[in-house]
C-alpha cells in the first residue's frame, strides 16, 4: 500500500493522512493498520491525564524538548472533547506546545473525542500505532482526566502519568476516586505557586507499591522547566522496569486482549450502523414495537445470522 510505504519512508503527510483515515473510519484504514502493525511495538507510550488546566500540554512541551536533547524522536496525541451539541471542537493543546516548531523529529496530533463507536481508546491507540510505525521513540498521549474513557486511555499506555497541582488536593481526599490506582508516576506541577511540598508528601503518603513498583511523586514547574529532567528520568526508569521485569508479557497480553475486544465491538457496531448488512434490523424493530418479540431474544437471533462487513 502506497501510503504505508510513504509513512515508513518518513513522509509526515502520509502519517497525518493515515491518522485521519482512522479517525474518519475510512474503509482503507483497516488494511493500512494491518500493514503497519508489524512495525509497531517499538515506542514507549506514555499517557498523561489530569484535570483541565493543570499543565499537561505545557509539561509535554518540556518533555518533548528534553527527549529531543536525548536524541529521541517524539510523537504526541492530544485528545480533547467534542461538543456533544454540534459535533465540532476547538483543539488548543498546540498553543502550549509551540516551542517545537518545525523540528522534523516531532509529530504532534490533536484529536477530538467524536463519537467513536468502538470506543475512543481504539481510535486513539491506532493513531499512536501510526506514530510508532513512523519511527517515534516515545509517544505522549494527553487526555483530560474527567470520564471513564479518559482513564481508560491513560491506563492503556506503558507508563501512566497522573498530573495534579498544589491547590487541586490539599487534602488528598479531594483526589478523584481511582486516581491513586492508575498512575505509575505522579506529578505535582506548578510548584512555583507554592504548596507543592505539602501536596507531594500527601500524595506520597497515600501511594503504595503495586506489583513491585512504587509510584514516585515528581514536582515540576512546566512554566520554567524545573523538574523536567527528573520526570523524564522517572519515565525511562519505569519503562526499563516494565521491559526487563516479569510484568511485560502480562501487560502486553492485557493490551492485546482489550484491543481485540474493542475491535470486535467496533465491527459489530459498524455492522448495525449501516443497514446494508441486510440483517433485518428495521423489521425487527417493528416486531418489537408490535410485541411480537422482545429485544433480548431478537438480539440473539440477529447476531446468529450476522454477516460482517468486509
Amino acid at each position: 500500500m502506497k501510503i504505508v510505504d510513504q509513512l515508513r519512508e518518513g513522509d509526515k503527510r502520509a502519517a497525518a493522512k493515515l491518522i485521519s483515515m482512522i479517525e474518519d473510519d475510512d474503509p482503507g484504514a483497516t488494511a493500512a493498520l494491518a500493514e503497519i502493525f508489524p512495525h509497531t511495538g517499538k515506542a514507549h507510550i506514555v499517557g498523561l491525564t489530569g484535570p483541565p488546566g493543570v499543565g499537561k500540554s505545557s509539561l509535554i512541551n518540556r518533555l518533548v524538548r528534553e527527549y529531543r536533547e536525548r536524541s529521541k524522536k517524539v510523537g504526541v496525541v492530544a485528545v480533547d472533547p467534542t461538543s456533544p451539541f454540534t459535533g465540532g471542537a476547538v483543539l488548543g493543546d498546540r498553543i502550549r506546545m509551540a516551542d517545537t516548531g518545525s523540528d522534523p523529529g516531532v509529530f504532534i496530533r490533536s484529536m477530538a473525542t467524536r463519537g467513536h463507536s468502538g470506543g475512543l481508546a481504539l481510535a486513539t491507540f491506532d493513531a499512536v500505532k501510526v506514530l510508532d510505525a513512523y519511527g517515534m521513540d516515545i509517544v505522549f498521549v494527553e487526555t483530560v482526566g474527567a470520564g471513564q474513557s479518559e482513564v481508560d486511555i491513560a491506563s492503556r499506555a506503558h507508563t501512566t502519568v497522573v498530573v495534579q497541582m498544589p491547590q487541586s488536593g490539599d487534602s488528598v481526599q479531594a483526589l478523584k476516586a481511582g486516581i491513586l490506582e492508575i498512575g505509575d508516576i505522579y506529578v505535582v506541577n506548578k510548584m512555583d505557586l507554592g504548596g507543592g511540598d505539602t501536596m507531594a508528601s500527601n500524595l506520597d503518603f497515600m501511594l503504595e507499591e503495586r506489583q513491585g513498583w512504587r509510584p514516585p511523586v515528581v514536582q515540576t514547574a512546566a512554566l520554567d522547566g524545573r523538574g523536567t529532567k527528573e520526570l523524564a528520568d522517572a519515565l525511562t526508569k519505569h519503562y526499563r522496569f516494565l521491559k526487563r521485569g516479569p510484568l511485560w508479557r502480562g501487560r502486553e497480553a492485557d493490551r492485546a486482549r482489550k484491543e481485540l475486544f474493542e475491535s470486535m465491538r467496533h465491527l459489530l457496531a459498524e455492522t448495525f450502523s449501516d443497514d446494508t448488512a441486510g440483517i433485518g434490523f428495521e423489521e425487527t424493530v417493528g416486531a418489537i414495537v408490535a410485541r411480537k418479540t422482545d429485544p433480548r431474544t431478537a438480539a440473539r437471533k440477529l447476531l446468529k445470522g450476522l454477516k460482517l462487513p468486509r
Binding site: 509526515k12 503527510r13 497525518a16 493522512k17 491518522i19 485521519s20 479517525e23 474518519d24 473510519d25 475510512d26 467534542t82 461538543s83 454540534t86 459535533g87 465540532g88 471542537a89 476547538v90 483543539l91 488548543g92 498546540r94 498553543i95 509551540a98 516548531g101 518545525s102 509529530f107 504532534i108 496530533r109 490533536s110 477530538a112 467524536r114
Partner: protein, 130 residues
C-alpha cells in the same frame, strides 16, 4: 462516519490579540468542524508544519498588522514546497483593498474584512473542504 472538516486557525506575526481568530474558531466549531487553534506568534514554517501534522483541509490566518504582506504569501509558498498546495489558505483582518488583490494573486483564496458575516466564513471553509 463522514469525513470531518478540520481547519487550522493561526495568528502569524508578533503583534497583538487574537479576538477575531477566536470568534471564527468558535463559529467553525459550532458548525461541526474541528478547529486546531495554535495561538499567537506563529512563523509561517510553524503554521505549515502544524497544518501538515494535523491534516487540515484549510488554514485561516488572522492578520492585523502590515506584516501580513510578507507572512501570508510565505505560508502559501511553503505549502507548495511541501507538496501540500491542496490545503487552502484564507485570511481575515483589516487589509487594504490593494493588498487584498496582491494576496489573492499570491494564492490566498479568500480575504475576510472586518464585519464579514460569520456564516460567509463558515461557508467558505465548508466548500474549501470539498
Amino acid at each position: 462516519m463522514p469525513k470531518k472538516i478540520r481547519i487550522l486557525i493561526a495568528k502569524p506575526g508578533l503583534d497583538g490579540h487574537d479576538r477575531g481568530a477566536k470568534v471564527v474558531a468558535r463559529a467553525l466549531r459550532d458548525a461541526g468542524m474541528e478547529v486546531i487553534y495554535t495561538g499567537l506568534r506563529q512563523t509561517p514554517e510553524d503554521i505549515v508544519e502544524a497544518a501538515i501534522q494535523e491534516d487540515v483541509d484549510a488554514i485561516g490566518l488572522s492578520s492585523l498588522s502590515g506584516a501580513h504582506m510578507a507572512l501570508l504569501p510565505e505560508v502559501v509558498k511553503l505549502l507548495r514546497k511541501r507538496k501540500a498546495a491542496d490545503i487552502l489558505v484564507a485570511a481575515g483582518g483589516i487589509i487594504p483593498d490593494e493588498d487584498v488583490r496582491k494576496l489573492k494573486k499570491a494564492g490566498i483564496k479568500a480575504v475576510f474584512g472586518p464585519g464579514t458575516p460569520l456564516a460567509e466564513i463558515v461557508e467558505f471553509f465548508r466548500s474549501a473542504a470539498q
